[in-house]
């Protein structure tokens, strides 16, 4: 029998009728993780696929990019973070690691303070500004961060 108290509760809290199994959990694998790195870098399957395609397409620029990311990880991402630098805050605590010559961006976020970085997506900018779909991809990464819908999968 519904009481006034339970009636009030129902007004604010919808009844639990189903578990939301539609939230995708993104598995991240170590890219640059270990004692040699001041910022451990993990990467999702999607981001590693995008990065791998970029490396295959661009050869020299791609090699330079991944070498830079490794160096940023060894030195610590914070040392390369700046409004004019290769690592920049986009919005909602989502950051991009960018290459100026190719306009390629890896998109992700920090966890554990700034000791770990989770790469979740990547794309190549076409013009000066981000396109609508690219902004949406950044928003999706922000959602992954806020929902904590990722899990580490050691290799």
């Amino acid at each position: 029998m519904a009481t006034s108290a339970s009636h009030n509760l129902r007004s604010f809290a919808p009844p639990l009728t189903a578990i939301n199994s539609k939230v995708k959990i993104h598995r991240v694998e170590p890219l640059f993780v270990g004692d040699d790195y001041r910022t451990d870098v993990w990467i999702s399957e999607h981001a590693s696929e995008v990065l791998n395609k970029f490396l295959g397409k661009t050869k020299a620029k791609g090699k330079e990019f991944i070498a830079k990311v490794e160096h940023y990880a060894k030195s610590g991402f914070e040392n390369f973070e700046h409004s004019c630098g290769p690592i920049r805050h986009e919005w909602n605590r989502v950051f991009r690691i960018g290459q100026r010559s190719s306009l390629f961006r890896l998109i992700g976020f920090y966890v554990s303070g700034k000791s770990e970085f989770m790469c979740m997506d990547g794309f190549t900018k076409r013009g000066k500004k981000l396109s609508g779909p690219q902004r949406e991809r950044i928003a999706q990464v922000a959602k992954i961060k806020s929902q904590k819908s990722w899990v580490r999968q050691p290799s």
Binding site: S48, E49, A67, H82, S83, R100
Partner: protein, 141 residues
């Protein structure tokens, strides 16, 4: 996920090239410039103005996308109030030693330019135990 393996393979190939050594120097310079931009609270434009370099050139340097002469690097460092030098990074090599608990270990030693040495325990001598990755920082000199 084989993509990560493929990515690391590309990276390994790059490290075998002479270009990778030049890239490392460009990255070191970019790091120094970025650190001092933050410390001085300068923008990239301000550094460009103080050095009479183009803003786009400074941007390329910060992204390690541009080569520069030592003279150019010197002008940038001077404007930032920084002294810097090139140093050789020594290759790590194995030595025997005593760890902090008095046990004899085979240690992987890497000398640093300022005389400090980092030791990683490579293996326990006389045992088949897997190596532990423990760092012991020892200052010498």
């Amino acid at each position: 996920m084989s993509h990560v393996r493929d990515i690391l393979k590309v990276l390994d190939e790059y490290h075998q090239t002479p270009e990778s050594r030049g890239m490392k120097l460009r990255l070191n310079l970019a790091e120094i410039i970025l650190r001092h931009l933050k410390q001085n609270n300068w923008t990239q434009k301000e550094l460009a103005r103080k050095t009479s370099f183009q803003d786009s050139f400074i941007s390329r340097l910060l992204h390690s996308d541009a080569n520069c002469t030592f003279e150019t690097a010197g002008r940038l460092l001077f404007a930032l109030g920084v002294e810097a030098k090139l140093e050789e990074i020594s290759e790590p090599h194995l030595v025997s030693g005593i760890d902090s608990s008095g046990d004899k270990q085979t240690l992987l030693r890497q000398d640093l330019a300022d005389g400090a040495e980092i030791f990683k325990i490579q293996a326990l001598e006389g045992t088949n135990q897997a190596s532990a990755q423990t760092k012991i920082l020892v200052r010498t000199g």
